[in-house]
């Protein structure tokens, strides 16, 4: 069960099983930066050209402080003692079809097997399908993101296919897979 605390315009904090989810803020910059630097490529951190970025903490702090970021859909996920465990990003994709795009990243891949991750996904479903009336959620992942893939499959996502040799990193070509979940499932 989620307990939602809201002000006039945005969500402040939601209580999940074994943790919390809230809008990301400038103080989350260091935790977010670590996701870029820990040596694990993640599809959710690539730019439009599918290139990895190496942002500084200051750049991320500035980005998270912008009005559109504060009002946007980047959420920080905390455990029950308030430590940031990861981030979740929900974006609108195409307006005419009502699709959304999901990225979820944890500092440790083990978190994907936790009840906290499951409750984050329930939050995503509620927000996407019920509140935003989206009909489908897409998620992209690299061939090395096996824990994220298992997590998505466990929650009903199905593969749309794999784009081959899209990203060159760590001396290797990585594939990019697209998965999706429809509201009717």
């Amino acid at each position: 069960m989620c307990v939602e605390i809201q002000n006039d315009c945005c969500i402040c904090m939601i209580t999940l099983n074994n943790g919390y989810i809230r809008m990301a803020e400038p103080d989350d910059a260091r935790a977010l930066c670590w996701l870029y630097l820990d040596g694990k490529p993640r599809a959710g951190l690539l730019d439009n050209r599918r290139e990895p970025l190496i942002p500084t903490v200051d750049e991320l702090r500035e980005l998270l402080g912008r009005h559109e970021a504060a009002m946007g859909n980047l959420f920080a996920i905390e455990d029950d003692i308030g430590e940031v465990m990861g981030f979740c990003n929900l974006r609108g994709m195409t307006q005419d079809t009502g699709f959304g795009d999901l990225a979820m990243m944890f500092l440790s891949d083990d978190t994907f097997q936790s009840t906290l991750a499951d409750s984050v996904m329930h939050f995503v479903f509620e927000r996407s399908f019920e509140k935003s009336q989206r009909k489908r959620i897409y998620a992209s992942l690299l061939s090395c993101e096996t824990c994220f893939r298992d997590f998505l499959i466990r929650h009903g996502f199905e593969s749309n296919g794999v784009q081959r040799e899209v990203i060159y990193t760590g001396g290797n070509w990585l594939n990019l897979e697209s998965l999706s979940l429809d509201t009717s499932i």
Binding site: T94, N160, G161, E165, Y168
Partner: protein, 214 residues
Amino acid sequence: MSFSTDSYLRRAEREDLDTVVAWMEDEDFQHFLYGDPTRSPKQIREHIVSMLGRSVGHTMPGGLYLIIDSPSQGPLGMISLQNVSWRNRSCNLDFYLGSKGMRNHMMTAIAVYRALEYCFDELNLHRVAAYIYAFNTPSWRIFQKAGAIRELVMRNHIVRNGNLYDVYGYGLLRREFEAVRAQNKSMHSVSLQQMILKLAEVEDDTPMDEAATP
């Protein structure tokens, strides 16, 4: 026949603006163009217009707009290379044949072949991707004949005339394009004409005027 092999590629210039805008006003442009899945056709159009003649030839831009031109027939169409990643050596390819009279399979094959040659032989890319509507059969058939693999199927992904349609994501790797090129060379001739004819072979009775582009 209404095709020409004297066509060549050049960068789009400011002087092309009227021609390109006229193509964009054609309803087929909205109907067939897919491009970047995160941008609407209106955004794509505004971006193209703003980019014409602005990219510098010798730098490494993130997007390139090329005009398919012909000395005998003038500008025939436009090729857009988007999301060019020089790190991953990849790009997304769109092409549009502005002249309806040129939308036979031969002209489409020439456009695709010239664009792919440019991507692999001039820009030294590793991968070319294209998103094509499922109903745009001539376009994805020609892409397949060039060696591309259908990697993604996004079901009921796009709305046209109130109906939902699938979108295919195609990917072509450099080695696959070279294999197709080598195969065509070993058959009879090394001529461009032979390779284009092979690419333009069609297996269905799809009307010619549907041969617009991704």
